[in-house]
């Protein structure tokens, strides 16, 4: 009887998220505190990288979420285009600034890490470059949302931009690979490749990643709720003016 589409009802969505948000927020705080404290203070220094290795606990989770936020926006945009659920469009809108900040954190921590390790803040390496391009895509997406006054038009246009942008972002990723071979190491966490990273680092990293995922979910839920309420408020105001 009950399906996931029930939550496309804004009222139901707000009721449910209001109920689970406090617990989710506490869980996020615990995971982040645990992961970051464990990672920063309770792991040994790397024998070659020294203590700089510990920025990995911010760098990798934020990079993970920078990409997954865009994926989530893509899915939400598709749902909006196919099923016209307003909550979905608002969730995509709410996720964009969070994704932008995650991309920025990944770029900044990467620069701070790259300075001592590679001897440079920035290199036109494929991974770095594609993150910069992703950053630009986020900027364009947010700017388009902000520029259009009609809510439904904005939702439609940004959804299509998100679809087209995804294709081009993917294309750019491979084009950049072709264009320059990089400094950046390969994937550190891979199911197949086995022991790239020691368990003493891996476990706190997993906790941090869980913390960032939770953080993203909490922020998006809060922001979506805010968008819904803001829209409701505008409607009420408009109705009041009509009545008066």
């Amino acid at each position: 009887m009950s399906s996931i589409w029930e939550y496309a009802n804004p009222k139901k969505f707000i009721e449910t998220t209001d109920r689970i948000l406090p617990a989710l927020a506490v869980l996020t705080g615990v995971a982040l505190l645990l992961g970051l404290i464990w990672g920063f203070f309770l792991t040994p220094d790397d024998f070659r990288q020294g203590s700089t290795v510990k920025i990995v606990f911010l760098h990798v989770p934020s990079a993970l979420m920078a990409i997954n936020a865009w994926l989530m926006m893509l899915v939400a945009s598709l749902i909006w285009i196919v099923r016209r659920h307003h909550v979905s469009a608002l969730a995509a809108r709410a996720a964009a600034p969070v994704g932008l900040v995650m991309t920025m954190i990944a770029l900044l921590t990467g620069a701070i890490w790259g300075q001592p390790m590679w001897g440079t803040w920035w290199a036109w390496d494929p991974r770095l470059t594609s993150f910069l391009i992703l950053f630009l895509f986020y900027l364009g997406y947010i700017a388009l949302w902000a520029a259009i006054e009609n809510d439904d038009t904005a939702a439609d246009l940004t959804a299509i931009l998100c679809l087209v942008g995804s294709v081009f972002a993917l294309l750019s990723r491979y084009a950049v690979n072709f264009w320059n071979q990089g400094l950046h190491q390969g994937a550190s966490l891979s199911v197949k490749s086995g022991e790239r990273m020691d368990m003493t680092y891996k476990l706190p990293l997993y906790v941090c990643m869980a913390g960032f995922v939770l953080l993203f979910v909490v922020l998006v839920l809060i922001r979506t709720g805010t968008e819904i309420r803001a829209r409701r408020m505008r409607v009420l105001l408009a109705r009041e003016r009509m009545g008066a």
Binding site: F137, A147, L171
Partner: protein, 218 residues
């Protein structure tokens, strides 16, 4: 459709200098570069393919908002939308007209500007070929961006912000073809990739642009 194409080309050539504007901009970019980086011929020869591609891309960007904006303002876009022509066809024709009035002149002028930048002799053939293959993609992608921003006041800046990231793959492969050609290397791979991007963009993007225009005309 042919009538629409001829009308668009006529408007671009006759009305208000939109036609020569891209070319002049391209020329100015090419003239300014040596002032910026210094007059050493060896250095100019090395960066010439990239600069020429970048200049062509920016010149193309400059005239994008004209694709739909004027027709939007005087209402002829609404008339076109209610005509029996499919929206996808209208978008494609408008992109084609933009390419014929902006992209093609840029392609033809590029070798001339290559002389100014001391482009190596081997590079001319590949520069022309890569621009010929790549600029249609710039027009088609640009038409998508123009369709997105058509209803907005001061949409020009937003248009650049939206379109420039989409230009990345085209620029990378196009400039790579020109660079490799100039240095006498193998060009087949980037050339095929460039052609693939152009064909893919021409085949699929008109559907997205048409969907966007329908939303904007609602």
């Amino acid at each position: 459709m042919r009538a629409l194409l001829i009308r668009d080309i006529r408007l671009a050539v006759r009305a208000g200098g939109g036609f020569g504007l891209g070319l002049s901009f391209f020329l100015i970019v090419v003239v300014l570069v040596p002032f910026g980086v210094g007059p050493q011929n060896a250095l100019l020869a090395r960066i010439a393919p990239g600069i020429l591609w970048l200049g062509a891309l920016l010149a193309c960007l400059l005239s994008l908002d004209r694709i739909f904006a004027l027709d939007w303002e005087d209402g002829s876009l609404d008339l076109l939308a209610t005509s029996p022509l499919p929206m996808e066809g209208i978008v494609s024709i408008k992109a084609l007209a933009h390419w014929l009035t902006t992209g093609l002149p840029l392609v033809l002028a590029a070798p001339l500007f290559g002389v100014l930048l001391n482009l190596p002799e081997a590079g001319y053939k590949w520069l022309i070929l890569s621009l010929l293959l790549g600029t249609p993609a710039l027009s088609v992608i640009g038409a998508f961006g123009a369709a997105l921003t058509v209803g907005l006041k001061r949409g020009g800046l937003l248009l650049s912000l939206l379109v420039l990231p989409l230009y990345v793959p085209t620029l990378i492969f196009g400039a790579e073809v020109a660079r490799r050609g100039a240095e006498g290397l193998q060009v087949a791979t980037p050339l095929l990739m460039l052609a693939g991007i152009t064909c893919g963009a021409m085949a699929l993007l008109p559907f997205a642009s048409a969907a966007v225009l329908r939303v904007n005309l609602r």
